[in-house]
């Protein structure tokens, strides 16, 4: 389990563009750095981030990103989304060594 910090503006007005922010704790080890004994540390990164919006039985990917070794530890991803209706935002991070982290946040449009 990794600690995440997700920021979604509370109760946005219908049809406004909101900024969604997602921060996750992860070492993002590049696989290129030696450890104290000079041996290469195995790569351990998040490979993919995906955000889905589900409402009324329909679920769409609204944002996704591929992550690479050059991205810093604890990656922070922010993107914009037009809030047309209420629903649920599902966040999913997947990476090396079977790493997976899922979070959901409800979005209530007024």
């Amino acid at each position: 389990m990794a600690r995440t910090l997700i920021t979604v503006p509370p109760n946005p007005k219908k049809n406004t563009v909101i900024e969604i922010r997602a921060l996750i704790q992860h070492p993002m080890e590049t696989g290129l750095r030696p450890d104290v004994e000079g041996k290469l540390q195995p790569r351990n990164i998040i490979q993919r981030f995906e955000c889905r919006f589900s409402s009324g039985g329909k679920s769409d990917v609204i944002f996704s990103a591929e992550l690479f070794p050059a991205i810093s530890a604890n990656p922070y991803i922010a993107f914009n989304f037009r809030a047309t209706q209420s629903g649920t935002l599902g966040f999913q991070w997947t990476g090396d060594n079977g790493f997976t982290q899922a979070e959901t946040v409800s979005l209530v449009v007024v």
Binding site: R3, T4, L5, T7, R21, L23, I24, Q25, P27, M28, S72, A73, N74, Y76
Partner: protein
């Protein structure tokens, strides 16, 4: 008759003018006496933005974990920090701003991490967190954040004076193969460049902080050890009395400056 009317008016005018002048001088004076700058003031706008916004500040990941630790029961009595101290935002407000402080039993100064360890040992009867472990940084950052915005206020305790003085001597003592003291860089060359980096004034205003170079949270002692190995001196171990004395002097030197915990630095 005219001058009778004039006199009080003139006095009144001089009076307000003098007041205004005094006020202006005070304002200017305050600026002159406090020209100290936090490391924050030396950062780029984009790094400052990371610290300004809790939803972007990666250090908040540790703070949130610390909040969970605050309520976690430990030790044979199954006590959490909250069992004794209650809600941290109230009970821990101002605590980080006054450490290091004298410990009653040993009559020696201890820093916040050592205070947390003593609580774990004496009150929780639990295994203390080792210095600089993730768990220690989590709880320290959570306690530290409760003093955000408060001025650094070293305790008015006469017993501290001798230790603070030792810290000052250390700050000015040349060390390592490069034969440099803390003061050489941070007093005499602050604001100038060391390689690509700006030398800050060494005020401990935001610890524990997220350093972009570390890609992690770290305590003030990690920073001090970094500086020591930088001048090719052998760093003291974590929790060494020399570090506590140095922290005392740094706190005295930064007294009155606002705490920014949990900060971000480049």
């Amino acid at each position: 008759m005219v001058f009778i009317w004039l006199l009080p008016a003139t006095f009144a005018a001089i009076g307000t003018e003098a007041c205004a002048a005094e006020e202006a001088a005070n304002k200017a004076g305050n600026k002159i006496t406090d020209s100290r700058k936090s490391g924050y003031d030396f950062m780029s706008a984009s790094t400052q933005a990371l610290q300004n916004d809790d939803s972007q500040n990666p250090a908040m990941l540790w703070v949130k974990d610390g909040e969970a630790l605050w309520g976690r029961e430990a030790g044979k009595d199954k006590k959490s920090c909250a069992s004794c101290h209650g809600a941290a935002p109230k009970s821990m407000r101002g605590v980080a701003a006054r450490y290091p402080a004298i410990e009653k039993k040993t009559r020696r100064p201890i820093n916040l991490q050592q205070r947390i360890n003593l609580c774990q040992k004496d009150h929780q009867h639990a295994a203390p967190f080792a210095p600089e472990t993730q768990e220690m940084l989590r709880i320290e950052s959570y306690v530290g954040m409760q003093s955000r915005g408060l001025a650094i206020t070293p305790p008015r305790d006469a017993r501290l004076a001798a230790f603070t003085q030792k810290g000052k001597v250390q700050f000015e003592q040349r060390m390592g193969q490069l034969d440099l003291s803390c003061a050489d860089c941070h007093d005499n060359h602050a604001g100038k460049k060391l390689g690509g980096a700006t030398i800050p004034e060494a005020h401990p205003t935001a610890y524990p902080l997220y350093r972009l170079e570390w890609q992690s949270l770290g305590s003030v002692e990690r920073r001090l050890r970094n500086c020591m190995s930088g001048v090719r001196a052998e760093p003291y171990p974590y929790g060494a009395p020399e570090f506590v004395e140095l922290e005392l002097y740094l706190a005295a030197r930064a007294a009155g400056m606002k705490l920014e915990t949990p900060g971000v630095r480049p």
